[in-house]
Structure formats: C-alpha cells, structure tokens
C-alpha cells in the first residue's frame, strides 16, 4: 500500500496482508530468488506466473516457511504477515502454517477417511472442543470447497478413493478447515482435467471473499481468469507486478510482454 504500483482500481480498498522486502533464496550455490519485493493484498487472488524455474514456487514456499524443510535452502530478507516478521526466530512455523495454508500441485490427501482428512488440521490446532464443533468445521470446510454434496454420504470413505479433481478439492477443504488467513496454491490444477480445473477456479474466486489466495500457475489463461493481481517472475527476479488486466494488456517490461505473447517460456 505504500508502494504506488500496488494501488489498483478494483482492489484499492484492500490492505496488504503479506509484505515481502528484499527476499533472497539460495539453494546451496544456486541463487534461486533475487531481491523480491511484493505486497499480497487481503482478500485478493494474486497469481504468480513465469517460465519453469523462475522462482515463483520458491517464493510461494517462503510465505509459509515450507522452505525450512529443505536443508540447503537459505532465505534472507524480510517477510511480514500483518506486520509481523514471519522469519523472527520466536515465530513457530507450525502456528504460521495454520494461518497460511497451502494446496499442492499434486492432490495429496492423507490415506485416511474424508472426514479425518478435513478434521486433522482443526484437531492438531485445537480448533474444536467437541465432536459437534468438529463435525461443523468439517461440513463448512467441505461446503467451502464445493465438495460437500458429493461426499456427504460417505465421509468415512478413504480420501484417496476420490477422483483427482475431488481429491484436490478435498485438499482445499483440508487447508480451509484451519481457518487460514492466506491460502497458497502451488499449481493446483496442473494434475486436473479441464472440468475439474474449472470447478477449482470457481472455488478460488469464491474463497477470495474469505481470505487472500496466492496461486502459482503455468497457465496464463488461468491467471487471467482467476486473479486480480499478477506477478511475473523471470530467472529468479520479480519482473513486474500489477493489476492482472494491466499485465496482460499493457505490460511495462519487455520480458513480460515476451512471455505473455509466447516468445519466452
């Protein structure tokens, strides 16, 4: 919000939820992310686009400290969630990940029942005191993920028995169940067929009313369809960040233009 570039017409009333300043990531010798500054707005869908290996997934994984699990990864710079430095040593990454949920490229439900998949997060974070409360969280989460009607009669069936698209929506329900403030999605549709993709995209638009969504995607059409803000990454740098419509129609940087017109990538 204090960066003039971020003031956009349709999301101008939104506050910055996550602010990143000078974020650098090294994987051993490899400099994977160079000096990224970005502000993710509240209740907005932000798309990260760019060619393979450009650092967009790396940056996404910095936002909930999933890079901590990679031994060789070194993150520097400053990322704040609601003004709080998430790399502060006093911060518990476990708490952070309850607030910043994540959905992965490949649907990865736990090999448990549909119910247990969704109930797992609330259980470990103590969000429900009674069974009835837990039941309600499971139901509302599955409803938010537009899966309730399909699975309400077989909540005890294994989550791994669902179709690919249903599994991905189950993973979204699982992430939604911990009442996150930000939802990170790492190419959530790349393993799905077009119909399932359309369902998930519709869902993303729906989820935007509750919290910020950050989506990494390879598909520029998808970015254009679901997001209000788009960031273009190239060779580890954030090249351009702005309103989605502006990025796709009047890109400021020649590299962005080259990418969206298909000349690099």
């Amino acid at each position: 919000m204090n960066d003039m570039r971020l003031v956009e017409r349709d999301v101008s009333n939104r506050q910055a939820k996550i602010e990143a300043r000078g974020v650098q990531v090294h994987y051993g010798e490899k400099h994977a992310l160079k000096d990224v500054d970005v502000a993710i707005l509240d209740r907005t869908v932000t798309a990260f686009i760019g060619p393979s290996g450009c650092g967009k997934s790396t940056f996404l994984r910095c936002l909930n400290r999933m890079n901590d699990t990679v031994a060789s990864a070194k993150v520097s710079g400053n990322i704040t969630l609601d003004g709080q430095d998430i790399y502060d040593p006093r911060i518990d990454p476990v708490q952070l990940r309850a607030k910043v949920g994540m959905v992965f490229q490949k649907p990865n439900p736990f090999p448990k029942s549909i119910y247990d998949n969704v109930a797992y997060g609330p259980k470990i974070h103590g969000l429900a005191r009674t069974k009835a409360e837990l039941d309600e969280i499971v139901e509302t989460s599955l409803k938010k993920a537009a899966l309730w009607n399909e699975v309400k009669d077989r909540l005890s069936a294994p989550g791994t028995g669902l179709s690919g698209g249903q599994q991905q929506r189950l993973c979204i329900a699982r992430a939604v169940a911990t009442a996150p403030e930000v939802l990170l999605m790492d190419e959530p549709c790349s393993a799905l067929d077009p119909i399932a993709t359309a369902q998930v995209e519709e869902l993303i638009d729906e989820l935007r009313t509750h919290f910020s969504v950050v989506i990494v995607t390879h598909s520029m059409q998808q970015a254009a369809r679901v997001s209000q803000k788009t960031a273009f990454f190239h060779l580890g740098s954030l090249v351009e960040y702005g309103e989605t419509g502006q990025i796709f129609t009047t890109p400021q940087d020649p590299r962005t233009e080259a990418y969206i017109t298909g000349r690099i990538g």
């Binding site: 708490q95 990940r97 990865n108 736990f110 797992y120 993973c171």
Partner: protein
C-alpha cells in the same frame, strides 16, 4: 501396399512385416536367451530347495514317532518302599537302579504271563530293550503319587534307540550282529512284541517337550529346552531391538542434521550388518559374561548378542520404510501446520508400519536361525533342566536354542541322532515359516488400512 510403403524408409528396409529382418531375429534370440537363463536359474534354485527339503523330511520325519513298549506293571513295594509306610522321603532313597530292576522284572513277568515267545533272548537282555529313561520317569511318577505302590499300573516305556531304529529301518539284523548294544534275537522279539501289540509307534510328544538326553539314550532326547530357549530369546530380541531400532531410524531419518557425524553413524550401521556373527559372539562373551557378569548359557545373554546383530537389519528396514513414505504426505502434513512429532506419529509411522513389521519379523527370523554367536556364550551346553518361567528369572537359567540343538545333535556319534537333528531342523523350519507367514499377513492387514 507396396506403393504406399515404397517411399518410406521402413519400406526401404524391405520385407514383409510377417518375416522379421535379421536384426529383429537377433534381437528376438537375445530376448529368448535372457528368458531361458532366468527360467534356468529359477529351476536350479527351486530344485536345490526341493532336494534340501526332501532330504531333511526323509531323515527327520521319523523323529516324530517313537517305539514305545506298553505293559501292566505291579509296583512292587518290596523294591520301592522297603519300610512299607509310604513315606516319600524314605522312598526317595531308592534310586533309578531299583526302578530299573522293577521295570525289568515286570517286563519279564508280563512276557511270561502273556505267553510271548522271547525268541531265545536271555532274561538279562530283555530288560535292556527298555530305555534307561523309563526308570527315572517311573520313579518320578511313584514319588509323586505313593498310593501307586502295590498297584498294577499300565506303563509306557520308550524302547531303546536300537529297537526304535529297527522299527524305522535304520537297524537290521546284519548291523545287529556287529552291534554290542543289540542282538538279532532282540529284534526277533521286537517283531513278536509288535505282533502282540505291546510295541507301538505313537506320536513322539517327548521329542517336542522333553529336555536333551545323553548319548546313551537318544530315544529320550527332546527339543523342549531348546524351544523354550529360542522362544525366550525371540521375545527378548523383539523387546530390545524394536524400540531402539525404530527410535534410531526415526531420529536419523526425520530429525538428525545431515553432517559428517551422522554420515559416519550411517556407514557404521551398514558395516555392523556385515560383521560376521561369530564376532558378535566374542563381543557378547567379553562384555555380557566376563565384564557384566551375566550367567553363561542364559537366554538373556543370547538375546543380547542376537539383538546386536539384528539391530542393523531392523534399522535399515525401518529407514527404508520411512523413506518410502511419499514426500507429498509429508508436505501435506507440514503444510497444514503439523509439528515434526505429529508428522512422524500421525502420518509417517502408520504408513511405514507394514514395512517396519516385515523387516522386524524377517530380522527376527534370521536371528532364530543364528548359531555361531550362541556357541561362544555357552548355549551349546548340555541342558536337561527346563528354564524357569519367564517371570521367575527363567531368562537367566541355562538354555539352548533350536539351531544349536541341531548342531550339537549332529555332532553326536549315535546314528539315532541323525534323525533327531533332522527332526529339529523341521521344527526350526516350521517356526521360520510361521514367522514369515505372520510377516505377510501383518503386511496385508496394515496395507489394507490405506
């Protein structure tokens, strides 16, 4: 067709698709040879296995039957209770020599009474057809129940190893000629006893339950002590190795930093798995017996030594089971805010459990067959007393183990022990098969829980 094909490179190679080119034929031949080698290797190993099993079965099955002579015997008070007051302490002064006389006399008397042709066997040799195991058992029976004195009881006594061998075809009249322990006349009498129904071949429970016996009475030797010893060891090995092995694996896989020190640990675990087992025996002798002063020949020391050998196997199996848990599940759990502990105990361990179980049971199965280290810590001893119960310090009592029993029987001179050691191998194999089947069943059961 040729019009279409003519312009293409495939067409240029010529020939119909029905007839392969020389190159394809060579490729085919190579494939066929590869398959033939594979099938040949399988046939070779299966036939070796079959040959081994067949030999063991042929030699060993007879150990499960035992020639037994059954006859009514009057427990003569004049021999077993001279004072006549049925005082157990007084009666205990009569040794097995007295009971041997009692049995011989009773046997001779019954043969005469039943009118069985003794085939010219002198009276002295008649009693020698009964195992020396008989008097001891009769003595125990009478001392346990003094009211039997003066009564007529039906006694079943093992026939000696030679008579047993005759009924199993191991002893013939020709070998009996040269044998000082048996005469051809005794064999004739054995035939008569069989005809009269006195000499039978019932299932030999004593082989499974009885303790070992000396070279002089192979017919009385049993696996009881060895089975108890092996059982104690397996339970103790499982108790020692599973918690330590699983904890080690979890720490190394999930928590340990990757540095030179943990690399060193990893290399050494693999090395430990390759150390010859006899070395562990020497280690056990030096540490557990000489340094810590634990009793020799005890199942506890055996279990400790075998645990050292089994640990690397279990650690390696557990680590690979943990590593096989898909990273996507780890990401899912971490991404939702699970802690390391929750990740391990809610997701990784349940998924790795079938692999851990299988690895553990297979490790235990190979431990069950381990012999060399047990020889060094004295479990090859001749043990005729059963160890006490597991909660009465039985693990500290001297015991043997199944494979060691096989070894010690195989090295004895009496040919009757050949069938005994093969029989012991059959028992050992049955235990191994049971453990392997258990591994498979557990694996199936756990895998079905997705």
């Amino acid at each position: 067709m040729s019009d279409v094909m003519a312009g293409t490179p495939e067409g240029a190679r010529g020939g119909s698709l029905l007839e392969g080119s020389a190159r394809t034929k060579r490729r085919r031949a190579r494939e066929w040879r590869m398959k033939a080698y594979g099938i040949g290797a399988i046939v070779l190993s299966l036939s070796t296995l079959f040959f081994m099993l067949a030999t063991i079965l042929m030699d060993g099955v007879s150990a499960f039957r035992q020639a037994t002579i059954t006859f009514p015997l009057t427990v003569d008070a004049a021999i077993v209770d001279k004072t006549g007051n049925r005082n157990v302490e007084e009666m205990a002064k009569v040794t097995t020599i007295g009971y041997k006389r009692l049995l011989s006399q009773g046997f001779v008397a019954h043969l005469a009474a039943a009118g069985i042709d003794t085939a010219g066997v002198p009276e002295k040799d008649l009693g020698d057809m009964l195992s020396d195991d008989g008097p001891a058992r009769l003595r125990d029976m009478v001392l346990a129940d003094p009211s039997l004195v003066g009564q007529v009881v039906e006694v079943s006594v093992y026939a000696t190893g030679r008579i047993d061998g005759y009924l199993k075809g191991r002893v013939t009249r020709e070998t009996a000629e040269r044998d000082t322990n048996v005469t051809p006349e005794q064999l004739d009498l054995a035939d008569n006893l069989v005809a009269a129904g006195l000499l039978t071949m019932p299932f030999n429970w004593g082989f499974l339950t009885g303790p070992d016996a000396s070279d002089l009475r192979p017919e009385a030797s049993g696996l009881g002590v060895a089975i108890i010893g092996s059982l104690y060891m397996m339970v103790l090995v499982a108790i020692f190795t599973v918690p330590v092995g699983v904890a080690t694996s979890i720490y190394l896989e999930e928590f340990a930093p990757k540095n030179r020190f943990t690399d060193l640990i990893e290399v050494n675990i693999s090395n430990l798995a390759a150390v010859p087992s006899i070395v562990f025996g020497i280690l056990g002798l030096a540490i557990f017996i000489n340094f810590m002063g634990l009793p020799q020949s005890s199942s506890l020391v055996g279990a400790l030594v075998i645990s050292l050998m089994t640990l690397p196997t279990i650690i390696i199996a557990t680590r690979s089971a943990i590593r096989a848990v898909p990273p996507s599940i780890r990401e899912a759990a971490l991404g939702i805010g699970a802690s390391k502990m929750q990740l391990v105990f809610h997701h990784v361990l349940p998924l790795a459990m079938p692999g851990i179980m299988t690895g553990t049971i297979l490790g235990l199965a190979s431990a069950l067959g381990e012999t060399a280290p047990l020889l060094l810590i004295g479990m090859v001893a001749f043990v005729t007393n059963y160890p006490a119960g597991p909660f009465e310090g039985g693990v500290m009592d001297p015991a043997t183990a199944l494979p060691v029993q096989v070894y010690s029987w195989a090295s004895r001179s009496d040919p009757a022990f050949i069938e005994r050691s093969s029989g012991a191998i059959i028992v050992l194999l049955v235990f191994l098969v049971i453990m392997n089947v258990a591994a498979i069943l557990l694996r199936r059961r756990f895998e079905r829980r997705w």
